[in-house]
């Protein structure tokens, strides 16, 4: 039973009708990644707090699409190495959409991660200091 049920396999079969199988195997995942990145970038463009100028929007769109075209395949391959039963082609569309959606918000995500990390460190330090103070007060 063939387990390749993902959309890029379907695209590969369809493109393989017109061009060679080797070219179709390379082209099909990138067609899928392009469409998914358009979905992510369009969502990000519609969710901006204020209307943006067309040129700014065009620059943003090019940045988002090119970023996800370049970085989706390596990230999906890395993610799929977590488990031997995972295959990279299943992660192409979601990783492309997320990369295109987060194009301008990496700073916010880094700040959130830094906030969580500093909170954990502060919590750990407070607990350690209170434990030390308890021990010093006991005798």
């Amino acid at each position: 039973m063939n387990q390749n049920l993902d959309f890029s396999e379907l695209l590969r079969l369809m493109i393989g009708l017109a061009v060679s199988q080797q070219l179709a195997g390379v082209l099909a995942p990138y067609a899928l990644i392009f469409i998914a990145s358009l979905l992510g970038a369009g969502t990000a463009l519609g969710n901006t707090p204020m209307p943006v100028a067309r040129l700014v929007a065009l620059k943003f769109f090019l940045r988002a699409t090119i970023t996800s075209l370049l970085f989706t395949v390596p990230i999906a391959t890395l993610v799929a190495k977590y488990s031997p039963s995972w295959e990279a082609q299943w992660f192409f569309a979601p990783v492309a959409a997320v990369l295109a959606f987060v194009t301008d918000k990496w700073g916010k995500i880094a700040a959130f991660v830094a906030d969580v990390a500093s909170g954990m460190i502060r919590n750990w330090a407070n607990r350690a200091s209170s434990k030390n103070s308890n021990e010093s007060e006991k005798p």
Binding site: I35, T48, R54
Partner: protein, 129 residues
């Protein structure tokens, strides 16, 4: 192969695919400009409309490359009709998002929706006009 190869009309499918790509390019541009005009207060279903039409027009225009599916005359005419609908709507988007597409529009409460902005809906005054 060409389903019309025995008909007296010879259709150049490459030229048809090029026309299809141009029409879908116009659709893509319209959706792009409307998405650029949107902000946080726009209904999510309106955003989803234009995001889906954006990606769909790109996939439709590049279908001969992406899916090796070639457009027929009928599908090109239908794409032209969709483009006419979008183009004839453009007066409503001339000065930004129309009021009907905003979240604080009382008419938009027909369907439930998760709101981005928690502003109370605008009260309709009888003598608004």
């Amino acid at each position: 192969m060409n389903p019309l190869q025995h008909s007296p009309i010879a259709i150049n499918y490459d030229a048809l695919a090029f026309v299809h790509l141009i029409l879908n390019g116009f659709l893509f541009a319209i959706c792009f400009c409307r998405l650029a005009k949107m902000h946080k207060g726009v209904l999510r279903r309106v955003k989803a409309q234009y995001v889906m039409l954006l990606a769909g027009s790109a996939a439709n225009g590049f279908a001969p490359i992406f899916f090796s599916q070639w457009p027929s005359v009928v599908s090109v005419i239908f794409t032209a009709l969709v483009l006419y609908v979008m183009w004839s709507d453009s007066y409503a988007w001339k000065h930004g998002v129309p009021h009907a597409a905003l979240q604080n529009n009382p008419d938009a409460k027909v369907l439930p929706e998760v709101l981005d902005s928690h502003d109370p809906p605008v009260k309709e005054t009888p003598n608004a006009h």
